[in-house]
Symmetry: C2
Subunit: 138 residues, 2 copies
DNA sequence: CGGCATCCACAACGATACTG
DNA sequence: CAGTATCGTTGTGGATGCCG
């Protein structure tokens, strides 16, 4: 059923083509949900980590500094539901679960990485503003 | 003072070069602050809007569907402090304030737009996952 | 018109404890 | 190891009102 034309997929959600074409500036655009997952506090960092290589759950937790197991699990489920992350569970004890990016997720990760790279590259200029401006960040 | 070498700027914040080179995966990387502003719920949308043209405050509020005046003001201040947004206030009654992107902000907006464009372009594929998978997003 | 201050509801989050 | 469940806390964000 997922081989239906895109227009039919949209119709199933009761979404007009207009809403999809108009960008996410409109309040009820469904893209906002995906944007929320991608740009969530840990979503960005998870994508950056998984772009490097496949990780197991606790490996990923160690890799993404400061994340709790709860939030990591939730974030992974979001990205999994959006089709960006693939979960591979090896049936054995103790459990062994590997997370990796899907082709779709790799496409997203490229954009996220470009943003992240720009931020890191531009940090000196931005911090100069923190110093020059009136207030430190917060 | 903002003409100091980048290494000196970092030193003023007590930041090692190591922290800046290691990407934002480490918990105490200062880039996380900027990432937070850029990828905040309204930060992304404000950048997308201001990339099109200069807006006045209430214009911008109308443009960014669903944002409250409180959050719009806060978001604009974050981006302003980071040197991404320029605020121009015309001294007159009633007040007239214009917001626009700085050159730095335009650079950031390009990356944000690429991510946004990818999301909108990929929505059909992502929604196919919502349908095929077990759970709707929520 | 632009925006800050206050208040309040709710969602996000972290810590902990527990299970397959 | 890889989660889920519960709980308490913090933070986010909307509504309202006031002031330049």
């Amino acid at each position: 059923m997922s081989s239906l034309p895109a227009s039919d997929q949209r119709a199933r959600h009761g979404l007009s083509d207009k809403l999809l074409q108009g960008d996410l500036l409109s309040a009820d655009c469904p893209s906002r949900e995906v944007l929320k997952h991608l740009t969530s506090r840990w979503g960005v960092l998870v994508l950056l980590a998984l772009e490097q290589r496949t990780y197991r759950f606790l490996e990923l937790k160690r890799q993404v500094g400061g994340v709790s197991e709860r939030m990591l699990a939730q974030t992974l489920q979001w990205l999994q539901n959006d089709g960006l992350v693939h979960r591979r569970a090896l049936e054995q004890v103790p459990p062994h679960v590997e997370y990796s990016l899907t082709p779709l997720g790799r496409e997203a990760a490229v954009r996220v990485r470009e943003l992240a790279d720009w931020i890191e590259h531009s940090m000196p200029r931005i911090m100069a503003h923190w110093l020059g401006g009136s207030l430190p960040p917060a």
